[in-house]
Amino acid sequence: MIAQAARPTQGRLADRRFWLRGALVIVVLVVGLGLPFFLGAFWLSTTDFILIAAIGALGLNVLTGYTGQVSLGHAFFLGVGAYTAAFLGDHNVNAAIWIPAAGVVAGLVGLLVGPTALRLRGLYLAIVTIGLVFLGTHLFVNLPAITGGPAGRAIAQPQWGPADFGGTGVTVLGISIDRNGLYYYLALLLLALSMWFVHNLMRTRAGRAMQAVRDREVAAALVGVNLARTKLAAFVVSSFLAGICGAVYGAFLFHVEPGTWNLLLSIQFVAIIIVGGIGTVWGALLGSVFISGLPAILNNYSDSIPFLQHSAGGGGLDVGDATDLVYGILIVLFLVAEPRGLIGLVARIARSIPQRRRIATASIAVSPVAEE
């Protein structure tokens, strides 16, 4: 693609690939913007959760995927973002401010704890960040003035002009968009901005330093990369995106409580980036579709699957157990078959398509899998 960009413009206009790419972008845009009108409420709300999770996963991918530092403390930063949002929202701060503020506060907390945590590496770092989740829950329970204590607190809903995220939605030019639709566009916008940001960040000096740290830490240090500062920068960016994700996630759920920000949530984010493809911008979204979407699909079609129990008294396997079972089995089978994740699968498919048909998929490049 680098070669492509170097070509003169006239050449590009004549190139069939250029037009195909343009068409693809338009199709993606149309489908992306039109999706809420095609999806029923169940699928739309599921899609909302997928997009929101993808924002947080992208953050974790900066730290884990691009910089090679595995954190299981992501849920804590989501919580910090959510409570920041709740606190500011209750003080009549506009959502246009509390959404970025949630990211900033989470980022600052990351800046605070980062230097301590990042002295460690590999599994040590992973487990110390589990400690962050437990400490966080303890704080969330014991700081009722900010968090509402054990019972949690409600998060104010964004209210921009006629767009009411809390209830009725909005009607523009005769087209009505309900709450799920509004959150869809909000999450889509935030995700697109985040992806754009991360994509570009990785092409800057700082971004390349992060990837150098991941690929070979000692070598990176030798060529003059400041390890501590680079890791900390990744940690802060990761926490920032986690905070934004937490704020929107909490707002979409209306009410948050300390139990929400548990280790399971952290693990889910690690699962998203590993299943999606580590160290890629699109991996976060793909993984989120798989990890957040799969249980919904299983749940939705459970009615037509035999051996499942469809009422509390009936025989057969409980739907929830069956969902978990299939979910777990798919994760294992999938990672055994394609350890590089969905993005690896995409790349594999791309390779099997003859050269001239590769344009569409080749734009998703696979970067090397992170070593420990």
Binding site: L44, P150, L253, H255, E257, G320, D324
Partner: protein
């Protein structure tokens, strides 16, 4: 792939998706047919009313969700087998939310277009996540959550007594009714919103009649070790320990205390109790558990349970024989269980709401909501105390049944003070 093929494919997908969407959102407005206003979930040709149920049917909280949902089902089936609600049959769709707020929201979105009422929404964190959605949809929700937060919401149809009031009633009973006015009393509570309700009732009662509070001890829902807590309660020398917990921690605490030679009177908040604590299968014929003698008070002390459902098999309760007949007919394998009774009563309440809506010729969501708000007194045949829904909201019920664990009673519970309402409970504002 050529452009034209792609276009065709996209167009086909779009058409399919639109068709799916059309099915999904169909029938969400209210319409009038045959003299009755209808809304989502109402089929006036087949004369059916569809009710949604969201409950944890798997995972740890299924201990509550399963029997409660079976109770719902039993009464709905009873109604359907006896001519329906004024000729309307009830159709119910059950969904397993695993007690996860996110799943709960997704399932709510899935059910909403197809249902006239959400017959069961179990749990505080889950119900809190759909509450504003239900408010704006105007759909009545049978909230199976005794947290005091829901009783002041117009769409939330809560039956039974909030935890905080149960607690206050229990304290009043011990301090003022049994003559133990100077007894040393302590509280053991789960450090979450459920526990916070227990603390609220405990402190309200303390303000109201100044009992001898010797201390409050908390634990986390995920704890499995309670030696330190048992030790602490023992050194506080509490005569009565009120337990706002779930069955496993409550039982472990009681067992640990017994091992330490400490046998106070335990007063369990409703959710702390489970008949499975007594025998392996929860029935009187099952193998006795190790805790059986301790809970039954055979070693000293006693165990009381605060609740609001009638004693299982207590035939002095007018509705009991029908209740037992329905149990034997629909769910003979379900052990005597308070949540099953709760579910049965909850369905009774919902049928009463629907009946009133049908009689007002309005089965739209608004019609059903109006019926709920103006329902007035409902009688449950004594399965739970009768309650009254009014537009003023607030707790529909402030009464507590005080039961004692008794090896020979059905469900191991003997009511020692039926439907009791203390002065502290009456004045407790939620």
């Amino acid at each position: 792939m050529t452009m034209s093929k792609r276009t065709v494919r996209v167009a086909t997908c779009t058409a399919l998706l639109t068709a799916v969407a059309a099915c999904g959102t169909g029938g969400s407005g209210s319409s009038n047919s045959g003299g009755i206003t209808t809304g989502p979930g109402i089929d006036s040709n087949a004369k059916t009313i569809t009710i949604g149920i969201e409950s944890p049917l798997s995972g740890p909280v299924a201990v509550i969700g399963k029997p409660l949902t079976e109770g719902n089902e039993a009464y709905f089936k009873h109604v359907n087998d006896n001519g329906g609600v004024n000729g309307w049959k009830i159709n119910f769709i059950e969904k397993d939310d695993k007690y996860d707020p996110q799943t709960h929201v997704q399932l709510y979105n899935q059910l909403l277009p197809q249902i006239a009422m959400l017959g069961q929404s179990l749990g505080s964190p889950t119900t809190a996540a759909i509450r504003p959605l239900a408010d704006s949809a105007g759909i009545v929700v049978g909230a199976a959550a005794q947290s005091s937060a829901f009783v002041n919401d117009k769409v939330m149809a809560v039956i039974g007594t909030p935890y905080a009031i149960d607690m206050a009633n229990g304290l009043d009973y011990v301090v003022n009714q049994t003559g133990h006015s100077s007894a040393k009393i302590a509280l053991f509570f789960q450090n979450d919103d459920y526990g916070a309700d227990g603390v609220k009732g405990y402190n309200a009662a303390k303000t109201a009649f100044h009992f001898n509070d010797v201390g409050q001890v908390s634990y986390n829902a995920t704890d499995t070790e309670f030696t330190a807590q048992a030790q602490q309660l023992k050194s506080l020398k509490a005569d009565y320990v009120f337990v706002t917990a779930t069955p496993v921690p409550a039982a472990t605490l009681v067992g640990t205390a017994a091992a330490l030679g400490y046998f106070p009177h335990w007063v369990f908040q409703g959710p702390a109790w489970s008949e499975y604590l007594m025998t392996a299968d929860g029935t009187s014929t099952g193998a006795k558990s190790k805790l059986f003698p301790v809970l039954a008070g055979l070693a000293g002390g006693s165990t009381m349970v605060l609740g609001f459902t009638a004693g299982w098999g207590d035939t002095s309760v007018p509705g009991m024989s029908q209740f037992l007949a329905d149990h034997d007919k629909y769910f003979p394998n379900q052990a005597p269980d308070g949540y099953y009774e709760f579910g049965y009563a909850q369905a009774q309440m919902e049928v009463a709401v629907l009946k009133k809506a049908i009689e007002s010729n309005d089965l739209s969501r608004q019609g059903i909501l109006n019926a709920k708000l103006n329902l007035g007194p409902v009688d449950f045949g004594g399965i739970i105390p009768s309650l009254t829904y009014t537009p003023q909201l607030g707790p529909a019920d402030r009464q507590t049944d005080i039961a004692q664990v008794d090896p020979t009673s059905p469900g191991f519970l003997k009511i020692v003070k039926p439907y009791f309402e203390s002065s502290a409970a009456m004045s407790l504002s939620l």
